[in-house]
């Protein structure tokens, strides 16, 4: 997993963040996050928005460089909207929702990832991971609650029943840091995981992929294009995606026998890109890496007062964009729970629910990523025959198209089996465990989006005219009506009512449905809220 930079002037110059000196003596902090990557930064910002201060250690002094995540899914965008970064991401990102699959020289299949209107966020945007990280760093710093310590490397950690003792190394010397809660966001090679000797098991795929970021002015539509066995790269697959700044991501499958060193040679990469684009299309290589992929995870993510999030907890192959998007959902899931525990409103059972919810979510991401990788990279003659049979049939026969698997693109986990949910008897709409569906609404005549009105705490959606309600503390009602009405959101399309399918809906601070009610019965709502706080 290494890259070569090409000469030229990249549109993005990675910032260098100042490394603070080590503290003078031992320190004790409530929340320490290891890793200022996509997930650690998202978590730090989420906690800060809830008033929780954190220290974030990172062994580097910049953002993720080179070709890593580009596809940010709708749910991640909704989370970033809640955190205040949605506008920047939607403005800069390349919006897309369609994909095409080609087999040899023909189009076999095309798909639409968001066939339904009435959502603020698109199915996907493409945005370089470094932009997301740089904006997260700025937003974290602006809260005044996140202490970012660049070039502070976690060297050792030993768990305690009430936290962890950390040994940190910096260019100016080492120090000891006591943490009440340790949040391991230190990526696929997690030092925390290693220090706790936790097995990280799954599958390694015997295949290699050349990931090239290429600057060019090209006429391809903003769609995800995937080729199986194209004439310009016979026997292998190729993926093309547009990013901002006229940057294009091209993945070439190389096979297991390929020599990663030789494949990174710029002349060789240039020749591959040229044969794909044809002569006469000027381009410049910005970054080239050769990867082989793995799908693996920890068995459990919560280990006493140490919690794993993102790639340190689970790693997937990138087909389906489930790595970063899954990790962002981890942060979304843990932030409000930890804040509630630190405020003394909930016990550690609420933290245990992170395990109950995110382990199945990671398993689902691994299942999809593994199946996609097996389809893209068949390992046996039988796998090859079935793969090619599917592609033979897909062009003319609709039944075969759902079998084509060039990546099952990230969808948010439905936390259906969560202990925090109160089961209900409604037979349609977003049930317990589902991320709240968005819908267009208007407030005092001003058009907007439902998710923007949910606030930071628990929210009770009431599909009725405003009225006094007897609700548990920290549950805010939000009235939604089919006609304009003072003090209510106007559901002018009827989509909000239809998408929730119940007269009243309790949403968690991470915007997931946790219970639905037929009547506004105070005892029932209080019981569901208790259960959602891990007191059930």
């Amino acid at each position: 997993m290494s890259g070569v930079e090409q000469p030229g002037r990249p549109a993005f110059q990675p910032p260098r963040y100042a490394s603070p000196p080590p503290p003078r003596g031992p320190e004790q902090r409530a929340v320490v996050i290891i890793g200022a990557g996509l997930v650690g930064l998202t978590l730090a910002l989420d906690l800060a928005r809830r008033g929780v201060a954190s220290v974030v250690l990172d062994d580097d002094d910049t953002v993720s460089v080179g070709s890593r995540a580009i596809c940010f899914a709708k749910r991640s965008l909704e989370i970033f909207c809640r955190l205040g970064l949605g506008e920047a991401m939607l403005a800069k990102g390349v919006t897309w929702q369609h994909g095409r699959v080609f087999f040899q020289d023909r189009e076999a299949y095309r798909f639409d990832l968001l066939p339904e209107a009435g959502h603020e966020c698109p199915a996907f945007i493409n945005l370089q991971q470094y932009y997301a990280e740089a904006w997260l760093v700025e937003a974290c710093a602006a809260t005044g609650l996140v202490e970012l310590r660049w070039k502070h490397r976690l060297a050792e950690m030993s768990p305690r029943p009430d936290g962890a003792t950390l040994t940190v190394e910096t260019p100016a010397g080492g120090y000891v840091l006591e943490a009440d809660w340790l949040l391991a966001c230190d990526g696929a090679r997690s030092r925390v995981r290693e220090a706790l000797a936790l097995p990280f098991t799954g599958r390694a795929f015997r295949d290699r992929f050349l990931i090239a970021d290429v600057v060019m002015q090209a006429e391809f539509p903003t769609e995800r294009w995937f080729w199986f066995d194209p004439p310009f790269h016979p026997g292998q697959s190729v993926l093309l995606h547009k990013q901002p700044d006229d940057l294009w991501r091209i993945d070439f499958q190389l096979g297991w026998e390929a020599d990663p060193e030789a494949e990174r040679d710029p002349d060789r990469v240039t020749a591959r890109v040229r044969s794909m684009l044809g002569p006469g299309v000027p381009f410049r290589l910005e970054w080239v890496s050769v990867y082989s992929f793995r799908c693996r995870r920890l068995e459990r993510f919560v280990h006493g007062r140490t919690v794993f999030l993102g790639d340190s907890a689970h790693q997937v192959s990138p087909f389906g964009a489930r790595g970063g998007n899954g990790g962002i959902q981890d942060a979304d899931n843990l932030g409000w729970k930890l804040a509630a525990v630190l405020r003394g409103e909930a016990g550690e059972a609420l933290i245990a629910s992170y395990d109950a919810e995110r382990v199945p979510a990671a398993a689902e991401n691994i299942l999809h990523s593994t199946r996609s990788t097996d389809f893209i990279s068949p390992k046996t003659p039988a796998a090859q025959a079935y793969r090619d049979a599917v592609l033979d049939l897909a062009e003319h026969h609709a039944f075969a198209r759902p079998l084509v698997n060039s990546g099952r693109l990230s969808r948010p986990a439905v936390l259906a089996g969560s202990p925090l949910n109160t089961p209900d008897g409604f037979d349609h709409g977003a049930g317990p465990g589902t991320p709240a569906p968005d819908a267009p609404v208007a407030q005092e005549g001003v058009p907007g989006w439902l998710l923007r009105h949910l606030g930071a705490g628990f929210c009770l959606l009431v599909f009725a005219a405003p009225r006094p309600l007897d609700l548990p503390p920290r549950v805010t009602p939000l009235f939604i009506t089919p006609e304009p009405m003072r003090g209510a959101l106007h559901d002018h399309s009827g989509l909000a009512a239809a998408r929730f399918g119940a007269p009243a809906v309790l949403l968690r601070p991470d915007q997931h449905v946790v219970a639905r009610f037929l009547t506004l019965d105070a005892a029932g709502i209080a019981a569901a809220h208790d259960r959602a706080m891990g007191r059930g």
Partner: protein, 69 residues
């Protein structure tokens, strides 16, 4: 509940095998395998019932009596 039907049902068994072999005529190993795979996928979609298909896969993987069919 639909179950995998393993009673003899083919009106012309010899004719079926003949038609299958004719379809494979002149194909090399890989092409033959791919044709069979297409056939399996077409039939699987025609059957459409996941439980029947799982039972069929289990029977094909283990044609002996212990498969419980």
């Amino acid at each position: 509940m639909p179950r995998l039907n393993t009673t003899p049902r083919l009106a012309d068994p010899d004719g079926l095998l003949e038609a299958l072999l004719a379809a494979h005529q002149g194909l090399d190993e890989a092409a033959s395998r791919r044709l069979d795979a297409r056939l399996v996928l077409i039939l699987a979609n025609h059957i459409g019932d996941a439980e029947v298909l799982r039972a069929a896969i289990a029977l094909a993987a283990k044609p002996g009596p212990e498969s419980g069919l």
